[in-house]
């Protein structure tokens, strides 16, 4: 049910940019201009890190599945589940290990779910 036919997207081609650009040494193999004392060789390569973050973020946002393809539930607290839309419940009976442990928000924001050692984030409310 939640499996789309493919993960193909023209946006994926954008990922070639941070793979190819950092390997083109003629782009950055200079001492000057310096920035804050850093030779160009160093600050330009540091700036490629931002290039990598930007492109992967864009591609992630553009290729995210529509919400109905993603198993949706809530973030950290498993006990409070009123926000989980009933329509998201899989029609087939989920395997026991899967159903309770989905704890991703549909918004795609970096959720801290499960990162706290204190709250056993494996939900037990079958």
């Amino acid at each position: 049910m939640s499996t789309p036919r493919s993960d193909r997207s023209p946006w994926n081609w954008l990922l070639l940019v941070p793979i190819v650009v950092p390997l083109l040494t003629p782009l950055y193999n200079f001492d000057s201009p310096r920035l804050f004392g850093f030779p160009a060789f160093y600050w330009i390569q540091f700036s490629f890190i931002l290039l990598g973050v930007a492109t992967t973020s864009i591609v992630y946002q553009m290729t995210r599945r529509p919400p109905d393809a993603v198993p949706v539930s809530l973030s950290a607290a498993p006990a409070t589940s009123p926000t989980a839309p009933a329509s998201e419940a899989p029609s087939t009976p989920p395997t026991p290990s899967e159903a309770p442990s989905t704890s991703k928000t549909a918004s795609g924001s970096e959720t801290p779910s499960g990162s706290k050692p204190s709250s056993g984030s494996e939900a037990s409310d079958e």
Binding site: D7, P22, F46, I49, Y60, S97
Partner: protein, 548 residues
């Protein structure tokens, strides 16, 4: 030793703290039953965004980061900065390729890359080759982590002269590590990674703000390094690349990136995350560690500027350049802060060492023990075999350090990189196409492996006077080209591998050799959390986990 007493106390306290966490981790997010390889070896495949970020970050950026990369920059300059493009290009590749491995593994309950190869190509032989390659490549990588700890211990003066006294603290540290990995599995490094990475970020932020201020600014740090390299007789050092080492720089960065995502420990970290979006989001967040790595690399220049002289090496007349970063902290910072920095390096070695030994243990269990020794092994038996194997692997890594010259830890790891690259056609290309023939893949593996080892054998090392296995920069002149340029061995070896795979595949298909049955379906490569078709084997015993 007495002047280092504060450092030793801080180091020991922090080390014991995380060791305690390692044992407690068995109860963290605990399932009802740990006796399953999915639980011990993959943390229940349940890690969310933050845990995955810390775990993979702690996994990929190892003690090698802290010690060997700045040591390389200290010795050779810009050529050592390859670590930055290397860790930039890796994430888009993870994003595109490893996500498919996650999906197909989630769908079929694969624990190792060799499991995937086994099902995809219907070839236990090929799976065995992939598993053995993974184990062999991982061993020096674990040993490298020990070198990181050793550099710190040496700086604190807690290592004696006799071979046993020199290694006693490491053996002790590894015994503790082995014990809590045995008990807690992947949960131990996942929990410890929080402490490790927090310490590392604090140490590096303080260092890059304070040291340039103390050493006269970034400009004068780079100028001091430039002056050193101008004065040195070696033609291939300098604060920027020259005409001869650019090809090496590019191929090493790219080859290392390919290698990293084939390493069993990276795959273990990725498979432990709970869904595709966790992985994809992390590919945008993990480059924060690359920034950190770049700054750490530059500590090598700061050490030049501060006039650090590395401690003597294991052999007469050599220097152990791995000690430059610990010495820099020892000389420039108060003892308590140097102690924290040393603990960060020490703990930084524990996290990846634990994950690597788990990954190697998973490979042995799934692809050697279950495949050849005991086909009907239950999940509980698998888990207990893996736990014992993780102990054996760690003993092997300690033996590496005791019996081999640790000076060239980085080259040991580069040799590992060369051989793990030979699994690329089966694992990485296999995620996209089934066209390659299993027989061809075996032939290619043999060819690539032979080529890689032959080339490594041919590389001399001027610094130590060794004629063979002196590094991974292969002089193109040995191929008959009239040039002083060098190229990364792994790159050539994998190219040869691929060529042989393609030719052999064409031949085997022409003579209609059976190609086996593909156990995967195209849809499997996009499966996500909640897929209703999960195989029974996958539904682990913690099915209804208790939150207590």
């Amino acid at each position: 030793m007495s002047e280092h007493i504060t450092e030793i106390v801080v180091f020991t306290v922090l080390f014991l703290l995380v060791s305690g966490m390692g044992f407690v981790a068995a109860r963290w997010r605990a399932p009802k039953d740990m006796a399953h390889l999915d639980e011990w070896g993959l943390g229940g495949r349940s890690f969310g965004g933050w845990i995955t970020w810390f775990l993979i970050g702690g996994d990929l950026y190892t003690a090698y980061t802290f010690v060997a990369v700045p040591a390389l920059i200290f010795g050779a300059g810009a050529a050592g900065f390859f670590a930055v493009p290397y860790t930039i290009v890796i994430y888009p590749m993870f994003f595109l390729v490893l996500i498919r491995l996650w999906s197909v593994s989630h769908r079929h309950g694969f624990v190792t890359p060799a499991d995937f190869v086994r099902t995809r190509f219907d070839s236990p032989t090929l799976a065995l080759l992939v598993a053995v390659t993974g184990i062999v490549a991982t061993m020096p990588y674990i040993a490298l982590q020990l070198v990181g700890i050793e550099a710190v211990l040496k700086t604190m003066g807690v290592t004696g002269d006799s071979p046993l006294a020199r290694h006693a603290p490491i053996i002790l540290a590894f015994a503790i590590l082995a014990a809590y990995t045995y008990q807690s599995g992947l949960r131990a490094p996942a929990l410890i990674a929080f402490v490790k990475d927090t310490l590392i970020y604090i140490v590096i932020i303080v260092a890059i703000l304070y040291l340039p201020y103390k050493l006269g600014g970034w400009g004068s740090i780079f100028d001091a390094a430039d002056a050193k390299f101008q004065a040195s007789p070696s033609p291939n050092d300098g604060i920027i690349l020259n005409a001869n080492n650019q090809l090496q720089y590019i191929t090493l960065a790219l080859g290392s990136a390919f290698a990293l995502f084939l390493y069993p420990h990276s795959i273990t970290g990725v498979l432990a995350s709970k869904n595709r979006n966790v992985i994809k989001r992390n590919m945008s967040a993990l480059p924060a560690y690359s920034l950190l790595l770049g700054l750490i690399a530059l500590l090598g220049y700061m050490a030049i500027s501060a006039g650090v002289k590395p401690l003597p090496g294991a052999k007469e007349g050599t220097v152990d350049s791995n000690t430059v970063v610990p010495l820099l902290f020892d000389q420039q910072f108060p003892a308590w802060f140097a102690g924290i920095a040393f603990a960060a390096i020490g703990i930084g070695a524990l996290v990846p060492a634990a994950i690597m030994s788990i990954a190697a243990a998973n490979l042995f269990t799934r692809n050697i023990y279950k495949e050849y020794l005991r086909k009907d092994a239950t999940p509980a038996q698998e888990a207990s075999v893996a736990k014992i194997t993780s102990l054996v692997v760690k003993i092997g890594a300690v033996a590496f350090i005791i019996f081999l010259d640790p000076q060239f830890s980085i080259d040991l790891q580069l040799i590992g990189g060369v051989i793990i690259l030979q699994t690329a056609p089966a694992v990485a290309i296999g995620l996209y196409t089934r066209w390659l023939h299993r027989g061809g893949l075996v032939a290619g593996w043999i060819a690539g492996m032979s080529m890689g080892l032959w080339m490594l054998y041919q590389v001399p090392n001027a610094a130590t006077g060794r004629a063979h296995f002196g590094g991974s920069a292969f002089p193109l002149s040995k191929f008959g080209f009239d040039t002083p340029k060098t190229i990364y061995v792994g790159f050539v070896a994998v190219a040869v591998n691929l060529l042989v795979v393609v030719i052999a595949t064409l031949i085997l298909r022409a003579i209609k050799t059976p190609e086996g049955i593909d156990g995967t379906e195209p849809d499997d490569f996009f499966a996500d959390e909640g897929d209703p078709r999960l195989e029974k084997a996958r539904t682990s015993p913690d099915a209804i986990a208790s939150s207590t």
